[in-house]
């Protein structure tokens, strides 16, 4: 089981959290200008990294807040926890 450190509540069990998938996906400012392929890309296409992955988590059975996590998908090591809206932290691949 993972121990995640909520930016507000501190270390809590993974059971209290929900993973919200890949982070840093920006909604296009003018969706009406996109062709179907580009829109489909935004809505459906996700990276499936083996290794370093940036993802969103929510402390759903806790303070309810969203935050970002950099996690190694092979070892489950948590490499960084940072706020929604912050840039990806610099991490070794």
């Amino acid at each position: 089981m993972l121990l995640l450190s909520c930016p507000w509540c501190g270390d809590r069990s993974e059971q209290e959290f929900a993973c919200g998938g890949e982070a840093h996906i920006v909604r296009p400012l003018a969706p009406e200008d996109l062709d179907d392929r580009a829109w489909g890309d935004y809505v459906f296409m996700r990276r499936n990294e083996k290794g370093l992955h940036f993802e969103r988590w929510r402390h759903v059975h806790g303070c309810g807040r969203w935050f970002n996590v950099a996690r190694n998908t092979v070892t489950h090591e948590i490499l960084a926890i940072y706020q929604v809206g912050d840039d990806r932290p610099e991490l070794p691949e």
Binding site: W8, C9, R12, S13, Q15, E16, H61, G62
Partner: protein, 199 residues
Amino acid sequence: MTSLRHQPLAHLALAARREPPVADAGVTLRALPYRPSIILRGESGDAGFVAAFRAGMGFELPLDPNRISSHDGVTALWLGPSEWLILGAMGPAGQGRLATALTGHHHAIINNGDGQQIIALSGPRARDVLGKLCPLDLESPDLAPGHCARSILARCSILLHPQPDGAYHIHVGRSFADYAWRLLADAGLTYGVAVASGD
């Protein structure tokens, strides 16, 4: 008088099963009677909102995570950086007083109505019973009295409110009250379970 609609555990007929606290019972379970409560939303960083609460209610809203403050029968429990549970004296008059105090500041007051049931878990083995079902570090100073935490009890979401006497008040949504009660009663069997009066 508390009416039946306020009693999510009425079907368990707890009154008929109440026993005088057994000397060797490791834990005592008690369904607390209905108390009006509300959810208050507002921003911790909004100094005007925080000051208006202090001016109207006579005490500080807890701004640090998982902390509690109380005054004059009203208790505010931190649920998130923009969310608090206000317990006690939150009937129509109390809600009106709070709404008046916060007028002009961005906020929301949400009436919990009958949505919650509080189960009190007490006795010398209360922590052991809770520890079977809840992943929180119950020995952490972050869960000493004066703190609270939302977490889970097996598969259901709870708000845990440790009491000065070592007991725990466990808040659950009313539709989970039966599940939570039966789980706690089962987890306590090893140590002996007493059912106490709800008052």
